[in-house]
Every structure is written in structure tokens, then in C-alpha cells.
């Protein structure tokens, strides 16, 4: 699967050909540097490792410094491997948006969702809450209700959905349409929302 690493810029809206306003996300995608090439002969499978975003030299470990030096490039903050990339690039080459994506493509975006802290069942799992503000609810409008039966099984089953730390998970969004590409600025505009906050790292993949 081909893909590139990028950064979420933010959301805006664009008018399509039919005159409708479409909510879109702008992603700064690449340019990425090939930091390692794996092949069937040496590693047992084909893949490409690419890096994105400049890292500070002092924050890079010695082993990684050597790794980037091999590819004749500067240290990168994000490094990711893509299996079966199938693109004619060598170690140290740069991959840009237009090498992989075109307008109209359906892409998959992977990112880490915004952290929401400790949240109750209503926000975390979409529980309905208890009734309305009527029916004698004194102070438990958003309580989870029963968490299981009584004497049998005499315990709460594992995996019972309860309140807890929410967000900050890896989220994959599939079939997002590429609305526009600005090659010079390394920008890609996709229809719809993607996980994460502004400036968060995302991976954009294409079959």
C-alpha cells in the first residue's frame, strides 16, 4: 500500500461543481524521504521506509542518526514503513504528493484522535442516559445504569463499558475523497474530517 506522512492543517469548506458547500480537511503531506528500502532478497519482503518532518539533532539518538546518515538525509521526527509500496525510488529520494495521489482518489487517513480525558458513558459510548429531566431523576441523568445481573454471575463481566479515559486512540478513516491537490505547497484537501488536532501527524494511504 502506498502512502505518505503528513500533518493536519485544519478544516475549511469548498464549493463543488454542483454548487454545494463541502466540509474539507487540509493536510500538509510530505515531502517524505526514503530512509530505508527493504527487498525480498535481504529482508524477505518488499517495503519502503519513509521519514517526515525535521527533528532536532540533539533530540535524535545515535543509532537513528546513523540510520538517517545512511540515507544521506537529516533526522526526521516521523518514520514509517509501507509494505509493497511499488514506486521507483531509491534510498534518500524524496517522494511528493503528486507522485502518489491525484484528485478524485479515495484515500485512507490514520491519525491519533483528540484526547478527551476521563469521560462518562454517554460521551464515551453513546449511552442514552436515564430518561429525560423528568421521571424523578434527581441527579443521575447521565449515569450508566445497571452493569449486570445479581447473584448470578455475582460479578461484572470484563469489557463492560464504563466511564474512562477517552480519545487519544489511533483512528482510521477510510474512503475519503481527494478534492484538491496543491503540489507546490505539498497540500492535499480531502472531503470530510480526519482524526487529531491541528498540526497532528497523520498517515495518508492509498490502495
Amino acid at each position: 500500500m502506498k502512502g505518505l506522512l503528513g500533518r493536519k492543517v485544519g478544516m475549511t469548506s469548498i464549493y463543488n461543481a454542483a454548487g454545494q458547500s463541502v466540509g474539507c480537511t487540509v493536510i500538509e503531506l510530505g515531502p517524505c524521504v526514503v530512509t530505508q528500502v527493504k527487498s525480498t532478497d535481504t529482508d524477505g519482503y518488499n517495503s519502503l521506509q519513509i521519514g517526515f518532518a525535521e527533528a532536532k539533532e540533539k533530540n535524535t539518538t545515535q543509532p537513528l542518526k546513523g540510520h538517517f546518515k545512511k540515507a544521506n538525509t537529516t533526522p526526521k521526527r516521523r518514520v514509517q514503513e509501507f509494505r509493497d509500496f511499488n514506486i521507483d525510488k531509491q534510498l534518500g529520494d524524496t517522494i511528493t504528493v503528486v507522485d502518489i495521489f491525484a484528485e478524485g482518489d479515495a484515500v485512507t487517513v490514520v491519525g491519533v484522535s483528540k484526547g478527551k480525558g476521563f469521560q462518562g458513558g454517554v460521551k464515551r459510548y453513546g449511552f442514552a442516559g436515564v430518561g429525560d429531566q423528568t421521571h424523578g431523576q434527581h441527579n443521575r441523568l447521565r449515569s450508566p445504569g445497571s452493569v449486570g445481573a445479581s447473584s448470578y454471575p455475582s460479578k461484572v463481566f470484563k469489557g463492560q463499558r464504563m466511564a474512562g479515559r477517552t480519545g487519544g486512540d489511533q483512528v482510521t478513516v477510510t474512503k475519503l475523497k481527494v478534492v484538491k491537490i496543491f503540489a507546490e505547497q505539498n497540500l492535499i484537501v480531502v472531503k470530510g474530517a480526519i482524526p487529531g488536532h491541528k498540526n497532528s501527524f497523520v498517515t495518508v494511504k492509498k490502495k
Binding site: 492543517v9 485544519g10 478544516m11 475549511t12 469548506s13 469548498i14 464549493y15 454548487g19 458547500s21 487540509v26 500538509e28 484538491k180 496543491f182 505547497q185 497540500l187 484537501v189
Partner: protein
């Protein structure tokens, strides 16, 4: 670099052919509507009561009294359905958002007109938005 603004600029439509207007102006807005597979144009004439937003999401609200009932429409400046905007009367108003007209009926709901001495539009090549006032102050 502000990429959101950049994308907005790249995707914005050319609105320079529309008349410039401000809140209080009486404006005729022509827009396309699709009925089945036919397209036709319709004009909505009324007073501008609000201009809000910036960049690609900038929009204006226009209000008229139709058969004694107030009707408001909101148009984004970048809406592709907009075909023309003609500024018919400049209004003399003292605020940017004219929400107060919603509560007024009859004569009270009128907006006083601002009279011009002359339009110098022809001198400025297509930029209809420039006018002179009584005091000959150029207003852009």
C-alpha cells in the same frame, strides 16, 4: 504560512464584478435555482442587514418585506449560484448589524437613503465600488 487561508484564496470565486455594498444598502441579488433539470434565475431584492465571516466563509444576510412578512436569506459570497449583485441604494445606518429592523414594521422598518453627488465608477474601470459623497471623500 497560513495554509487554510491559502486554500480559501485558491478556491474563492471572482466577486469583483459584483457591486460593493455595506449593511443598510438596498441590493438586488440574482442567483440560479435548479428545478428538476432546468436552471433559471431569480432575483431577491432587499436590505443588507449583516455581513459576517471572512475568507471563503464570508456571507451576507439580506432582508425584505414580502406581503407584510419579513423574509431573510443568507448568501455566501463564494456561492457559485450567485450570478449578479446590484447595489441600488446606499443606506444611512449607524451600525454594522441591523438586527433592530427585525422588530420594526411599516415606516419604521425603512432605512434612510444616503444620497450621492455622483458616481465615479466609470473613472475607475470596472470598479463600481468607488463613489464620491457630498464632501467629495473617496470611499473605497
Amino acid at each position: 504560512m497560513d495554509f487554510i487561508r491559502f486554500v480559501g484564496q485558491q478556491c474563492a470565486r471572482d466577486i469583483s464584478k459584483f457591486d460593493f455594498f455595506r449593511p443598510g444598502d438596498n441590493v438586488a441579488v440574482t442567483y440560479e435555482i435548479v428545478e428538476g433539470d432546468k436552471k433559471r434565475e431569480q432575483t431577491f431584492r432587499g436590505d443588507i442587514i449583516k455581513i459576517k465571516g471572512e475568507g471563503i466563509s464570508r456571507s451576507f444576510t439580506i432582508r425584505k418585506i414580502s406581503d407584510g412578512i419579513g423574509v431573510e436569506r443568507i448568501f455566501p459570497f463564494n456561492c457559485p449560484a450567485l450570478t449578479n449583485i446590484v447595489n441600488l441604494k446606499k443606506g444611512r445606518v449607524r451600525r454594522a448589524k441591523l438586527y433592530y429592523v427585525r422588530g420594526q414594521v411599516g415606516k419604521a422598518a425603512r432605512i434612510r437613503e444616503k444620497k450621492f453627488v455622483q458616481s465615479i465608477a466609470e473613472n475607475l474601470k470596472g470598479k463600481k465600488r468607488k463613489w464620491t459623497f457630498d464632501n467629495s471623500v473617496l470611499y473605497v
